[in-house]
């Protein structure tokens, strides 16, 4: 047993303890379990919201992008910042409505606004289909981090199993309270680790931040800015916009809105979160520092930049702390995803088809579903080949398809009908699936357009299709048809 391993395990046990003890003194009905009894103050909501930004993707992927792609990486800072601006306006509205109507999940919001439980089923299915690959991504990241940081003494498979068991236990017992408490440890760890690495490595290897960037510019001129083609300026703008719209459409992020105890919680967070996410800068610095130190990480191996450079530089106990931080970045979002997916399936799918189920039965079912979903994700983590990669690419685009009918429902006079919302989401999701599976880009679909248009994020097409269908179907007079379609779909 090396020092790294001891530290990783110590943090794992500590988080498990915190996660389990979070239950104390609470009667775990569904409202406590999934939205924390709507009693979280600024700090917990802050940590939950921040917890979903600092996932393994940002830890490994953020440094990996900086290493492999350079300038385009900066879009991550831009979209987070703008999403928080939007949150100031959007989240208090959602929260108020959710509180008045005692909503528990994202699907509940659609059910209530459009007065259609079937729309809730659709939204839940889209959500779960997007969430499971996202969870798989976290688990794969967890496996990589722990096996690298333990110098290979724990296999990635074993690490994933241990991580999943820990998360399953505390989610089942404590629900969102467990996530919030483990998020405390995670954010402290990530702050310390990211800032330390992001400053130490550039100074150690290059004598400073600017000398590091100058060395990269000399070796790869233009790498630190956006290229003229591909991930160009128009790619940047369109991708940031799409990501901002999709940001709060993830079911677990949307659900954590409900946990706040007042609307001002979000307004306060909207001031702090933009600055707070600058921690990502330091993660990028690590990736940049690795470029000239460990060249030749190709393709998806770029994600190993942070870990490989750290192992090359530090003693095992520092590597252990990095590994522990990495483990927690997978566990917190992982726990939120498990809880959300279970709530969606129990409350918005099962309950719709067996309306006689009591609230207690639904709450119980949600908890039983946690290990089930965990096992499904484990299966995909170990077995899922190309399918899971395709789903992953789709995830963000899929949840973004919920945005049009969501945002229009916030208007005082919403012209969208439930049929419109239904058809729009389906059309958008189908377009996303087609585009992703066929590997299309705007360039391949419309090769004659100017370069700047070709570089636009292809997700825009799905969103336009979605909006057109939503508006068109909403304009068809449906008073008589509506009852029929609802009944037929049942």
């Amino acid at each position: 047993m090396n020092a790294a391993l001891v530290i990783i395990f110590a943090f794992l046990l500590f988080s498990l303890y915190l996660g389990v003890q979070a239950r104390k003194g609470k009667d775990m009905n569904l409202e406590q379990w999934t939205v924390g009894g709507r009693g979280f103050g600024t700090i917990f909501v802050f940590l939950l919201m921040a917890g979903e930004i600092y996932t393994t993707f940002t830890f490994l992927g953020g440094s990996g992008w900086a290493y492999g792609k350079g300038g385009p990486t900066f879009y991550i800072i831009a979209y987070g910042c703008l999403a928080y601006v939007l949150s100031y306006w959007m989240l208090p509205k959602v929260w108020k409505y959710a509180k008045e109507h005692k909503l528990m999940s994202q699907s509940d919001f659609f059910v209530s606004k459009y007065n259609s439980p079937l729309l809730g089923v659709l939204v839940s299915l889209v959500g779960v289909i997007a969430l499971i690959p996202y969870l798989v991504l976290q688990l794969k990241g967890l496996g990589i981090i722990v096996s690298e940081a333990s110098y290979g003494t724990i296999s990635s498979t074993a690490a994933i199993w241990i991580g999943v068991l820990a998360v399953t236990v505390y989610v089942t017992i404590s629900g969102i309270h467990g996530s919030a408490w483990t998020a405390v440890v995670k954010d402290i760890m990530i702050l310390v680790v990211a800032i330390f690495l992001g400053l130490y490595l550039p100074f150690h290897y290059y004598g400073g931040i600017q000398p590091m960037f100058e060395a990269i510019e000399q070796a790869k001129p233009g790498f630190l800015a956006l290229p003229d083609k591909g991930m160009s300026v128009s790619w940047f703008i369109s991708t940031v916009l799409l990501t901002v719209l999709g940001f709060y459409m993830w079911p677990h992020t949307f659900g954590s809105i409900y946990s706040a105890k007042s609307a001002n919680v979000f307004r306060k967070n909207a001031m702090i979160l933009p600055i707070y996410q600058l921690v990502l800068l330091f993660v990028f610095f690590v990736g940049f520092a690795a470029i000239l130190q460990i060249p030749h990480l190709e393709g998806s191996d770029a994600d190993l930049a942070l870990l490989r450079l750290s192992i090359q530089t530090f003693d095992p106990w520092v590597v252990g702390l990095i590994g522990a931080a990495g483990l927690l970045t997978a566990m917190v979002p992982g726990s939120m995803i498990l809880m959300t997916a279970s709530t969606l399936l129990a409350k918005n799918v099962y309950k719709v088809f067996s309306p006689s189920a009591t609230d207690e039965q639904v709450a119980k079912l949600a908890k039983y579903l946690v290990p089930v979903i965990a096992f499904i994700s484990l299966y995909f983590t170990f077995r899922g080949g190309n399918t899971i990669v395709a789903l992953l690419l789709m995830g963000y685009s899929l949840v973004t398809q919920l945005f049009p009918s969501f945002v229009l429902s916030l208007m005082e006079k919403n012209f969208v009908t439930k049929q419109g919302a239904f058809a729009g989401i389906i059309a958008g999701v189908a377009t996303v699936a087609y585009i992703t599976l066929s590997g299309s880009s705007i360039g391949t679909l419309f090769p004659s357009l100017p370069q700047a248009v070709q570089d636009l994020n292809v997700g825009i097409i799905a969103l336009i299709v979605n909006i057109v269908v939503t508006v068109a179907v909403s304009w068809i007079p449906t008073r008589s048809v509506s009852f029929d379609t609802e009944k037929r779909a049942m």
Binding site: F74, C81, V85, G222, L224, L226, F236
Partner: protein, 66 residues
Amino acid sequence: MKGIRWLMVFPFLGILGGIPFANKVTPYVLGMPFILFWLVAWVIITSIIMAVVYRFDPDVREEERT
């Protein structure tokens, strides 16, 4: 004074509208390539803008009373 919320347009203009002009590596500012400095500066300005909005937003006060 709900008009104060219109300030929230500026981060979008600065980040999305400004990026075509800020997309270059040099000059380095505070050690960072210019494009990165531009974005970081806007993130900080955004936080300041949101603090101003928060300070003057009547909805905030209204909720504090209840």
